[in-house]
Symmetry: D2
Subunit: 135 residues, 4 copies
């Protein structure tokens, strides 16, 4: 089983709930994005720095399995590990309900980088993430 | 090639853009959800009616391929067709840039229904959608 | 009584509801912003054009009275009129439930423009809006 | 000068930025709401408990002065104090940029409670908040 490289605690905010009292499906993409950005910052290569280097990370594909809903007051542990797959940076992201340990969401997110509008081979990103890349 | 059962025109709103000037990835899930709800209403079985019947539709899986970004002022055509796969209701949803015709997003969304907290076999939904189901 | 210069029909989307089944308070700011942007476009001076002219419109103050909640399926009529007050562009914005005619939200929104980072006297905006300005 | 009763640290998330790279105006209402809910929880009378007691808190008015924008990476200190004004519960909420100390947003938010659909005199809320009420 793969170990995670990063974990972030996030608290559900009540405005993220929908009329059924559970977190709306789109908000999980916000949690996942926020976790990736925090990981990049921790790894020493923030999105702001990428932009300054002329790199624009672009989401190319996302797969999300919704396992159990999060509700008001829940705290989640949002975890990820990352691998390079050709030019794609693939984030494996799982969100757990901190209190129950239940898996809330399981996601695979593929990101590519544009460099001056063209697809980058991703060396800069791969280099920055190398201590965290799984083989 | 599959024909679509439903199409909805949606205009990008500027608050849906992120700091790169393109629609933020999570907002496409909003567009997709809004399109499904509008389809259900058109098909004569709205989410409000489902709730009144004791059915709770729950998202179980979503796959989204991001093909080309939408920007300020863009109008999209959000199209779908639907099939039943066992107890799962599978929505095939494509969003096109109305002006250029370019595919913006390609998504497959699986929904199940809970009935009194248990997985429903989905007969009511299948019946309501039957004129639109692909075989 | 003041006449409105602009009206936009907007349909409530279900993801805008909160767990009480009414539109979350923050989403009205989205509706109000979307209406202002649509008005500016109609008046021939879009936000995109302002940016191209080196103008950055910045919200300085907002007052919102919440009168009656909007719910799933509601369609609103979002209306506004505008006046200049010194350098401030003041939008008077009312949102009505189209079906009942009830006032949902009453807002006064003050916007200033930055020009190269400094407060602009707003001539360009005032000129563009002059056919619509109330005296 | 009034002392605050509560302070909450919140980090800006990148999806909250708009295309100018600053936090979109509507997101401050999210921060303000999240802060009020956290305060109520800390004060021992959470929104969930209010609902269980048949009380529905409803926003009646909000005034927000936007003083200086928050950006990517900023951490805010969201502070409030509260007073009762007849049946209205009035939250005075200020958000500061933690790093610079600059005031980002100054807001006054009025909330009333409905009890079985009618305007409540607010005794339960006033009692719960009494250790924090300013006189």
């Amino acid at each position: 089983m793969q170990e995670y490289s990063f974990s972030l605690e996030i608290e559900v905010r009540d405005y993220e709930l929908d009329c059924e009292g559970i977190v709306n499906n789109a908000n999980y993409l916000h949690y996942l994005e926020h976790t990736r950005h925090a990981f990049c910052k921790m790894a020493g290569y923030s999105f702001a720095q990428m932009e300054a280097d002329g790199l624009t990370p672009v989401l190319s594909r996302i797969e999300v399995d919704y396992k159990s809903p999060l509700r008001s007051g829940d705290v989640m542990e949002s975890k990820l590990w990352v691998e390079m797959n050709g030019v794609r940076c693939v984030f494996h992201q799982d969100i757990f309900n901190k209190s129950s340990g239940a898996l809330a969401v399981k996601a695979v997110v593929s990101v590519v980088c544009l460099e001056n509008g063209k697809l980058s081979r991703g060396e800069k990103v791969a280099k920055a993430f190398s201590p965290y890349l799984k083989r």
